[in-house]
């Protein structure tokens, strides 16, 4: 049997603490059986420690290993590679526990714990996790401490104190590294959740889709405004427009996505300045290319482009949280559906602040033939009753605004709003309009666009979010998945007009916070029990949540902004940033710190001698040439006696010198006069010896 390295009691306690702490963040990611394995292997190791059980036989360990590998391969079907890889790491970490014979094994376990601690940041990057990670590091280091100091130490808390002191000492290094260590782009991109669908809007929409999103309270994006916050009924965050309908789903046509950046540029006549909103958005990973903005973005980052439908699009899919800044101009007149906005061709897109002020507003924009065709597209047949209704209304009302008004009135009077609409089949628009008359925003938007197009009015679906929860702490707006929304835009008077049929069916959808509005609806926030129960939206808990949100938001802003700030800072410091300069810059603080430590050590070792010793050393240097200097073990008395033999004319002075020294150092007479006397005598002797 192998000799078993017995961990001390405090090591074992700290080890269990570190393992539990490190594993907690992975609980939502790991398969259930792995959590069972964690409890079993930890329990087994504890029983081994107290002597109730033996280490598992090698065959058991082999069986466990094979079982884990097979189970992990099985899990791999779902395709979530990253969480499987983490699960593999966790599994090997746990299995190592069952064969922790030697100190080396305990160290391996602890090092893997450090690695796991870093891995947890793959899944969470909020401020709470940052502090939690620090706690884990401190506990693991405390455990490391107990393992290295293996002598039986009954004090349980001392390792923790030591660990905390270590981390406190590390703070300067951490700060320096944080400030100047270059943020290198990863060498390869890790797709965290390829298997799992992102919660959020997709690029196609069937009428019932949006209601699925109301099950989730995940954050879609956060916004902070530089100036005032737009009123609730203007908070339409446009993501994408959908122009193709196949009788069931709305999709984006190829031509609308691939049309390239918009070349028409806006000029907004006579818009009062208070309708400009400058804001920063921190967007959570969505896996999509579009970015959200208020209608109508007029200044946006150069890395994005604006499609002809005035939505913003980025070349890459969003895999990690980003921050971007947008300036939008939202005319109040838009709400009245009477304001005209003119597009003017010609001016090339500028990255920022490309606001054309030159247009006069007299020339109305026209849709091109192909655009018109695209925004009037309908399936060749089906939904005949709806088409007839549209034709009838068109004949009855005559013009577009009256048609729209008729449609809205009809929605307002006969339709109701629900998150759980009946299932539609076949001619879905007809069924919705004439039979069920219940639906969610998707249904209304979809039916409205169908009616408009049937009547020959170009229209399109807009997908995005509406609303957002205002955090009174920092004035930021948090937009969650349950605020996903679909509305429509129709072409009138030379511009696209926003129309939200949901607003007439359920007017409170615009004014109230979505969570209050939906709270009675079944299915709302089904995946977020805490939010649904309303506990978090009441009283002091709400305040705490808002405080936390605010802190976390500024954390994200800070972390995301830091890269740019750092670049600026480094450039100001170094001029052009080159690798060599960076390396020198990184090494410099380390070199300075080491020098300080070395000097300190050196200084401590040979602390500055007292004046008497310095005087004696002067005398010694004087005598060095004649090889008469004081030897190490020679007392001052015998030294002076020896010198008197060499310099008989100085014998009285030397004798006094010795007496003086004896008085000061050994009799304890500390009067300064004596000290001065001594130094004077030494100097006198020095002079005499030099002249001889």
């Amino acid at each position: 049997m192998k000799p078993v390295y017995q961990l001390t009691r405090s090591s074992m306690i700290w080890l269990v603490g570190s393992i539990v702490l490190v594993l907690i963040p992975f609980l939502p990611v790991l398969p259930l059986w792995l959590i069972v394995l964690a409890i079993v292997s930890l329990g087994w190791r504890l029983l081994v420690h107290i002597g109730r059980m033996n280490f598992p036989h090698w065959s058991v360990r082999l069986g466990l290993l094979l079982g884990v590998l097979i189970a992990l391969l099985w899990e791999l079907r779902s395709g979530a590679t990253m969480s499987i890889l983490v699960a593999l790491l966790v599994a090997s970490f746990l299995l190592k526990l069952t064969e922790m014979y030697q100190r080396r094994d305990a160290l391996v376990v602890l090092y893997v714990a450090f690695l796991l601690c870093a891995c947890s940041f793959l899944f969470y990057q909020n401020i709470l996790m940052a502090f939690y990670g620090l706690l884990c590091l401190i506990v693991i280091t405390a455990c490391l401490n107990t393992v290295y100091r293996s002598q039986q130490n009954s004090d349980l808390w001392r390792p923790l104190r030591r660990s905390v002191v270590l981390y406190l000492q590390a703070i300067p290094v951490m700060l320096v590294l944080f400030l100047i260590f270059p943020r290198i782009d990863p060498l390869w991109q890790v797709d965290l959740d390829t298997g799992k669908a992102y919660t959020g809007l997709s690029d196609s929409m069937a009428p019932g889709d949006v209601s699925k999103l109301t099950r989730s309270a995940e954050i879609a994006f956060r916004v902070s405004f530089d100036g005032e916050v737009p009123p609730a009924n203007l908070r339409y965050w446009r993501g994408l427009t959908m122009d193709q309908f196949d009788g069931h789903r709305w999709t984006r046509s190829e031509s609308s996505v691939n049309a390239g950046p918009v070349i028409v540029h806006l000029s907004l006549p006579d818009t009062p300045p208070d309708t400009d909103y400058q804001y920063q958005i921190i967007m959570e990973p969505s896996g999509q290319r579009w970015r959200y903005a208020l209608d109508r973005p007029i200044s946006y980052p150069a890395s994005m482009m604006m499609l002809p439908d005035f939505t913003l699009q980025s070349p890459e899919q969003l895999q990690q949280r980003i921050q971007y800044s947008v300036l939008s101009r939202t005319g109040k007149s838009r709400v009245d559906m009477s304001r005209t906005v003119k597009s003017r061709a010609g001016k090339p897109r500028a990255g920022k602040s490309g606001i054309g002020k030159s247009g006069s507003g007299s020339v109305k924009a026209q849709l091109s033939r192909s655009q018109r065709q695209r925004y009037l597209q309908l399936p060749v047949n089906g939904n005949d009753k709806a088409r007839q209704l549209a034709q009838r209304w068109l004949v009855e009302q005559g013009n577009t605004p009256a048609f729209v008004k008729q449609m809205m009135q009809s929605f307002a009077s006969d339709f109701s709003y629900t998150l759980q609409p009946p299932r539609l089949t076949g001619d879905r628009i007809d069924q919705f309009l004439f039979q069920t008359r219940q639906g969610f925003c998707g249904h209304f938007a979809s039916a409205s666009v169908f009616l408009l197009r049937s009547a020959g009015i170009p229209a399109r679906i807009v997908g995005g979010y509406q609303g957002g929860e205002l955090n009174p702490v920092d004035g930021s707006l948090t937009v969650r998945q349950y605020e996903a929304h679909a509305w429509l835009e129709y072409w009138f008077n030379g511009d696209w007009q926003r129309l939200d049929p949901t607003s007439v069916v359920a007017p409170s959808r615009l004014d109230q916070a979505a969570d209050q509005l939906f709270s009675s609806q079944e299915g709302f926030l089904a995946d977020a029990a805490l939010m649904r129960s309303g506990i978090l939206s009441r009283g002091w808990l709400k305040q705490i949540r808002q405080q936390y949100d605010s802190v976390n938001y500024s954390w994200h802003r800070w972390v995301l902004n830091y890269h740019q700030q750092q670049n600026g800072f480094l450039q100001r410091l170094l001029g052009e940033v080159t690798a060599l300069k960076l390396i020198i810059f990184l090494l410099m603080p380390a070199a300075i710190m080491l020098t300080v430590v070395a000097l300190n050590l050196l200084y401590r070792r040979r602390s500055r001698p007292d004046p008497l010793t310095r005087a004696l050393n002067t005398l010694n240097r004087q005598l060095q040439g004649r090889n008469l200097q004081r030897r190490r073990g020679e007392t001052v008395g015998s030294f002076c006696q020896r010198l008197s033999g060499q310099f008989p004319q100085l014998s009285t002075e030397l004798k006094q010198l010795a007496g003086c020294y004896e008085k000061i150092c050994y009799e304890g007479d500390e009067s300064s006069a004596l000290e001065k006397d001594f130094i004077a005598k030494v100097n006198y002797c020095c002079r005499q010896i030099r002249h001889q």
């Binding site: 008497l612 010793t613 007392t635 150092c665 050994y666």
Partner: protein, 306 residues
């Protein structure tokens, strides 16, 4: 008081010629309430010195010649059944005295040695479940032959440590020897010696010795010596804290005898040999070094001035 000490030294010098320094060392050992080990060849005056000290100090004294067949009971005493009183009576051994002269302590077996050394350390005797305190003051002056001689059981380090000092007498110089040869048997003079220091005075001297000043400079020097002895490769182990304390205590007494009320580094240099010599051991690879040269090496390598 110091006159009396000087007088005592000169009185003992009348029987032990030319050994003033050793006499003063022995006295400072006694003033520090320590036990003394005198190590030299037979016939060098070890016993004479011990006798002289006992006479001058006016202490009760017993002389005990150690032999290889000696048993602990021969030192400590025995319990014997007393018929008239129908009870066991303790008959105290020679150890129950103020000054015990243990002659040739390394001639006897380790068992008997440890019986004596235990009494030295504890200053009491435990026998048959009874504890008998030894008289105060209680000093042991032991003599031993160099371990190279036949028929000796060398004292182990832990027992050597019980002795505050170990001194050697050495051959007398020519003049002293001449005087010795002319003067006749010193033993007869011993009988005529009168006590010069009473036990009350001895107590006062002991107290005065412990008040001799030791400045930080001295402590620094002592610490440097101790640290060097622990780090240097020549020693298999360094000076123990008890050794350092003993050295300081002996230095105080020495300084008092010398008429000073403060300790000088010279005192340390002089006393480190007698006090520390038997507590240090050379590392094996330079085993041929005598402990004297080792200590000299130590003194030469450590700076007196900080």
């Amino acid at each position: 008081m110091r006159d009396q000490i000087e007088l005592a030294v000169s009185e003992i010098s009348k029987v032990l010629y030319g050994k003033q320094e050793q006499i003063k060392l022995a006295l400072s050992c006694i003033f520090s309430e320590g036990h003394l080990l005198i190590e030299d060849l037979p016939g060098m005056g070890k016993t004479t010195l011990a006798h002289g000290l006992a006479r001058v100090l006016g202490l009760d004294y017993q002389r005990l010649q150690f032999t290889s067949d000696m048993l602990p009971a021969d030192i400590l005493g025995v319990t014997i059944f007393d018929a008239p009183s129908n009870s066991f009576q303790f008959h105290s051994g020679p150890v129950f005295t103020q000054l015990l002269l243990a002659d040739e302590v390394n001639r006897t077996t380790p068992k008997t040695q440890s019986a004596l050394l235990e009494a030295m350390e504890e200053r009491r005797v435990s026998l048959d479940g009874q504890t008998y305190p030894l008289p105060t003051p209680f000093f042991v002056i032991a003599t031993q032959n160099p371990v190279t001689q036949h028929g000796t059981f060398p004292l182990p380090e832990s027992q050597l440590d019980r002795f505050l000092m170990r001194i050697e007498l050495g051959y007398p110089d020519t003049a002293a020897e001449r005087e010795l040869l002319k003067g006749g048997d010193p033993r007869s003079k011993l009988e005529l010696m009168q006590p010069l220091i009473s036990s009350e005075q001895l107590k006062q001297i002991t107290e005065a010795c412990s008040e001799v000043r030791v400045t930080d400079s001295i402590i620094d020097y002592l610490q440097r010596l101790v640290a060097h002895s622990r780090q240097a490769e020549e020693f298999s182990y360094g000076i123990s804290p008890r050794g350092a304390l003993a050295l300081l205590s002996a230095c105080r007494s020495w300084a008092y005898i010398e008429g000073r009320d403060y300790v000088l580094p010279e005192d340390l240099q002089l006393l480190i040999g007698p006090v520390i010599g038997h507590r240090l051991r050379a590392a094996e690879d330079i085993g041929s070094f005598s402990s004297d040269s080792l200590i000299q090496q130590l003194l030469n390598r450590v700076d007196v001035v900080g």
